[in-house]
C-alpha cells in the first residue's frame, strides 16, 4: 500500500530561519517527495525607489538591500552606472573596492559557518566562528567607519580613502583569522557527528545545478568551476586566486567550498594591500546616465545581476537586482526531494539563504 501523503509547512518562522521563507513539504512517512517554496512575506520594492531617488543617492538604497552583502550591492549598482556613463575608476579605488569586497565575503562565509554550527547544535563552534568574524568586522570598521552598512561607495570611486598604515595593520589580523578558521575546519569537515548531518544530504548533480540556475558555492559544490570574479571586474583581473570546487554535490561539499573560499579571500585581501596603487580615489562625474547595462558580479552567495535602464535624467527608469538566493530557490526545492524531514532545516541553511536580498 502506498504511504499516505501529508503536507508539512516549514516556515515562515523557524529556529534556523533568521528571515521568513515558507516551504510546503509534501511527505510520505518521513521522506519529502516534493517541496513548494513560497516567498514574498517582506518584499520591500526597493528597486522601484530608483524612479524617485536621484541616481547618486540610490547607492545608499542599494547598500541597504542586505546587511550581509551590503558592499556588493552598492558595488554592483555603482559599476553598472559607471559602465553606462563611461567612467573608469582609479586603480586605487579598484583595489580598495576589491579588498572590501573580499572582507565582506569572508565575514559572510564565517557568519554562515556559525549559523550552520548552530543549526546542528554545536554551540561552542558557533560562538568560536562568530568570535573570529568580529576581527573582520573590526577591519571593515577601521576602513570605512561602518560594521554593517559602509556607505563608502560612490559613482566614480570612493567617498573616503583608507590610509595605507590602516590597511597594513590588517595583515597580522588576517593571519589570526585564517589560523582561527583552520582550527574550526577540522570540526566542520572531519567531526563524525557533523559529517553525519552533512555527508550525502541534499545532493544535486552537476547537470541539475546548471540546468536549475544554481549560483555560488551551491553551484561550485556540484563540481562546476564558475566564479564571476574571473570576469576580471574591479581589481580581480590583477589577482592570483583559484576557484574552489567540490565534486561531492551535497551539504558537506557546500561547507568545504565556503571554508576554502575564506582562505582564497584572505589571500586576495593580502594581494590588494601589498600591491595597493597610490593615486586618487575619485573621478568626477558629469551629466546623467543614459542607456542600459547589466553587470554580473560574484556576491558571497553567488552571482548577482544588476540591470539599469536610464534615459539621461536624474531619475532612472529601472533598476533590477537578481540576487543569488532568488536564483537558488528552484534548486533548493529540487534538493529537498527525497530527503528526510529531519534534514530539511540543515539543508535550507546549506544554501546560505538571504531573504533580505531576495525580498529586495
Amino acid at each position: 500500500m502506498a504511504a499516505k501523503r501529508s503536507v508539512i509547512p516549514f516556515g515562515p518562522q523557524h529556529p534556523v530561519l533568521p528571515e521568513p521563507i515558507h516551504i510546503d513539504l509534501v511527505t510520505e512517512d518521513e521522506k519529502v517527495v516534493e517541496a513548494i517554496p513560497s516567498i514574498g512575506f517582506v518584499h520591500r520594492g526597493l528597486e522601484q525607489l530608483v524612479t524617485k531617488k536621484d541616481f547618486g543617492e540610490m547607492v545608499y538604497v542599494a547598500e541597504r538591500i542586505c546587511g550581509i552583502c551590503s558592499f556588493g550591492h552598492g558595488y554592483g549598482y555603482v559599476k553598472t552606472i559607471e559602465h553606462i556613463m563611461g567612467i573608469e575608476p582609479t586603480d586605487r579605488a579598484r583595489y580598495i573596492r576589491t579588498m572590501l569586497f573580499e572582507l565582506s565575503r569572508m565575514h559572510s562565509h564565517i557568519l554562515w559557518l556559525g549559523l550552520m554550527a548552530d543549526a546542528f547544535g554545536f554551540e561552542s563552534l558557533f560562538m568560536e566562528t562568530w568570535k573570529i568574524r568580529e576581527k573582520i568586522l573590526d577591519m571593515l570598521e577601521a576602513a570605512t567607519g561602518g560594521r554593517v552598512i559602509f556607505s563608502i561607495m560612490r559613482i566614480g570611486g570612493l567617498r573616503k580613502d583608507v590610509p595605507d598604515d590602516v590597511m597594513k595593520g590588517f595583515l597580522p589580523e588576517l593571519d589570526k583569522v585564517v589560523e582561527g578558521i583552520k582550527a574550526c575546519e577540522a570540526a566542520f569537515l572531519s567531526d563524525p557527528a557533523v559529517l553525519g548531518r552533512l555527508k550525502g544530504v541534499g545532493y544535486i548533480s552537476k547537470e541539475d545545478a546548471i540546468a536549475l540556475g544554481c549560483e555560488g558555492p551551491f553551484l561550485r559544490a556540484s563540481g562546476v568551476e564558475h566564479d564571476n570574479r574571473m570576469r576580471g571586474y574591479a581589481a580581480y583581473g590583477d589577482m592570483d586566486f583559484k576557484i574552489i570546487t567540490s565534486d561531492e554535490g551535497d551539504s558537506y561539499g557546500r561547507c568545504y567550498v565556503r571554508i576554502h573560499e575564506i582562505y582564497e579571500s584572505a589571500s586576495i585581501v593580502r594581494q590588494c594591500i601589498e600591491k595597493m596603487p597610490q593615486e586618487g580615489i575619485y573621478v568626477p562625474i558629469k551629466g546623467f546616465p543614459n542607456g542600459e547595462h547589466m553587470t554580473v558580479i560574484e556576491q558571497p552567495r553567488g552571482g548577482a545581476c544588476y540591470y539599469v535602464h536610464a534615459s539621461g535624467k536624474k531619475f532612472i527608469e529601472r533598476m533590477r537586482v537578481r540576487t543569488p538566493t532568488f536564483a537558488n530557490i528552484p534548486a533548493l526545492a529540487k534538493t529537498l526531494q527525497g530527503c528526510d524531514v529531519a534534514d530539511v532545516p540543515i539543508l535550507v541553511v546549506t544554501i546560505d539563504p538571504c531573504i533580505s536580498c531576495t525580498e529586495r
Binding site: 546548471i210 540556475g213 554580473v296 540591470y307 535602464h309 527608469e317 533590477r320
Partner: protein, 110 residues
C-alpha cells in the same frame, strides 16, 4: 549596451529562446521594465562567462508565453513579473496566481 542583445517579436519569442537553449545556454534572469504604456521583458542567458540577452516588447493586455517547459527555474521570474507588473504569463509550471509577493498594493510596479 547589453551584452549579446537581440530584440525579438513576441510572436517569435519561444522559437528564439529554443535556439538559445539548443546553443547550451541556461537562464540567468527575466525582468520587466515599464516604458510608457508598454513593457520590455528582458531574458538573460549564460553559458560559462558568455551572456546573451533577448528583449521583447509587450503591450497592455498582451499575454506572454511561459518558458518553463524549456527552463524549469523560470517560474519564479515569471511569477515575479506577473505580481509586480501585472503582465499575464500563460502556462507557468508553478503558477502562484498572484501570491508570490504578498504586497499591500496589487502590481506595485505597474
Amino acid at each position: 549596451m547589453l551584452d549579446g542583445l537581440e530584440i525579438v517579436e513576441l510572436t517569435g519569442l519561444l522559437n528564439n529562446i529554443k535556439a538559445v537553449k539548443t546553443d547550451g545556454f541556461s537562464l540567468m534572469q527575466i525582468c520587466a521594465t515599464k516604458i510608457d504604456e508598454s513593457y520590455e521583458i528582458l531574458y538573460t542567458f549564460g553559458k560559462g562567462y558568455d551572456i546573451r540577452n533577448l528583449k521583447t516588447v509587450v503591450r497592455e493586455g498582451e499575454h506572454v508565453p511561459s518558458i518553463t517547459d524549456m527552463f524549469e527555474a523560470a517560474y519564479l521570474y515569471e511569477n515575479e513579473i506577473h505580481d509586480l507588473f501585472g503582465i499575464a504569463v500563460d502556462g507557468i509550471n508553478h503558477d502562484y496566481k498572484g501570491t508570490l509577493y504578498r504586497t499591500a498594493e496589487e502590481t506595485p510596479f505597474r
